[in-house]
Structure formats: structure tokens, C-alpha cells
Amino acid sequence: MAAYSVNGADIEHDEEGYITDVQQWNRDLAQIIADAEGLEMTQEHWDVVDFLREYYNEYQIAPAVRVLVKAVKKKFGPEKGSNKYLYELFPYGPAKQACKIAGLPKPTGCV
């Protein structure tokens, strides 16, 4: 299985780049995945990633996109509480791209 090399450690990922063990995630890894996606991480990106990880830790699944939108709205203000804003941050989609960077399993659903 392919792996990311982070500070001398190998962290395995599947064929699409999602890491296989959510516990192995760290910020350096997130940065490496973001680089591979051609994404420049800003504080807003990190806030979304942190929210995804907190939600996953508590509920053991990734949030629905509408839950994520609501959380972003709460944190960054109403003008940023939209799907459009999330797609500006993560052009390949909040679910797929942000979850990958956050080290979560690939979301199975579409809501």
C-alpha cells in the first residue's frame, strides 16, 4: 500500500490518497496532502479541517455538508456560511477534499 512520508514516518493511504488510520493524522501530514492537492492552507482551511476532526472524534462519521455549512456560518459569519464559500476553499468539494486533508475516511454519502 502506498504511503505518505511524514517526518521519517510512513502513513499509509488508499489509492485515492485517504489515509487508512485516522489516528495517524497530524498537521504536517495535512500540509503534505494539501500540497499534493495544490492547495494553499489558510487559517480558514485549518478551521474547517479542525471542525471536521472534532466532529469525527465525537460522532465517528464525517458531517453532512449542511452541518458543515452551518458550523462555518457560526464561526466565520453569515456571508461565509454557504456551499459556495466551502467550494472556494476546497475546489474539489468540502466533503472529498477537506476530509482527505483532515485524515477522515472518504465520505460514502452525498448529503
Binding site: 460522532y59 453532512a64 448529503v111
Partner: protein
């Protein structure tokens, strides 16, 4: 391919999700849970009901290590979170109830404190009214 013309704007149904089976061993519990979470995306009214061995789905302390299955007890917390969210948000017309049947609970020696989420305890007769007034009942 057939074309459909759905006018779903503003449509509101009350859906009862009837959980009857133990959490692991079959896929029913997890599938119903996923259906409940999807219904939240459409802001539908929902009764999430636990009867028979279904009450074990929300009993605290699942340990699935030997089953080699993911412990999805924490995921039921989303139901509670969505319910509280809807109750607090005045713009949201979504009424959710989390119900445990009294007879099933007592027959298994459980009390409301044993559950991961806060529940309403209804007798079998009261539950019959809930089912009778639902637009749809989805059993699992």
C-alpha cells in the same frame, strides 16, 4: 429514462423510524441510522423509535473490538444534536422525537439512564398512536 416532475417545495412528512433489532449482527440498525440522518437534510419531522432488542442500539458501552466492526454508538449522538439544533432554531420547522418503548426497556432491565441519548419513554399503547399518526413508518 422516464422523466419525473417532483414538486417537493415545502413538503413536510412525519416519518417514524422503527428500530427493532440489536445493533450488530445485521445491517438494519446502521442502515436505519443513515436514513434518519438523511431525513435531517430534508428537514422532515421524524420519530426515532427503539423497541424490542432495538433498545440496545442506544445503550451506553458498546464494545465492538471482538466483532471487528466499527462502534457506531457515538453516531447516535448526531440525532440528539440535530434535534436540539432544530428545537433551538426558530426558522427551522423540524420536529424530532427520540422514543423508547417502556415495555421493551423494562423487559431488558434498562432505565433511561442507560441510554447514550436523552429519550422519551412511551408505553406500547402510546407508541401505537405515534405510529398511527405518522405519514410513513420505516422498519429496521
Amino acid at each position: 429514462m422516464a422523466e419525473y416532475d417532483f414538486d417537493t417545495e415545502g413538503v413536510k412528512k412525519t416519518i417514524t423510524f422503527l428500530n427493532r433489532k440489536a445493533p450488530y449482527g445485521t445491517i438494519y440498525a446502521l442502515e436505519v441510522l443513515e436514513s434518519v440522518l438523511i431525513s435531517a437534510a430534508f428537514e422532515q419531522h421524524a420519530n426515532i423509535v427503539f423497541v424490542d432488542d432495538g433498545v440496545f442500539q442506544i445503550k451506553k458501552g458498546h464494545d465492538t473490538a471482538d466483532l471487528e466492526m466499527k462502534n457506531f454508538l457515538p453516531t447516535y449522538g448526531i440525532i440528539e444534536m440535530e434535534k436540539e439544533d432544530a428545537d433551538e432554531d426558530e426558522d427551522m420547522d423540524m420536529n424530532w422525537r427520540i422514543i423508547v418503548e417502556k415495555e421493551s426497556m423494562e423487559a431488558r432491565g434498562l432505565t433511561p439512564d442507560d441510554f447514550k441519548v436523552e429519550v422519551e419513554v412511551l408505553s406500547s399503547a402510546e407508541l401505537a398512536d405515534v405510529l398511527a399518526t405518522s405519514d410513513a413508518v420505516i422498519g429496521g
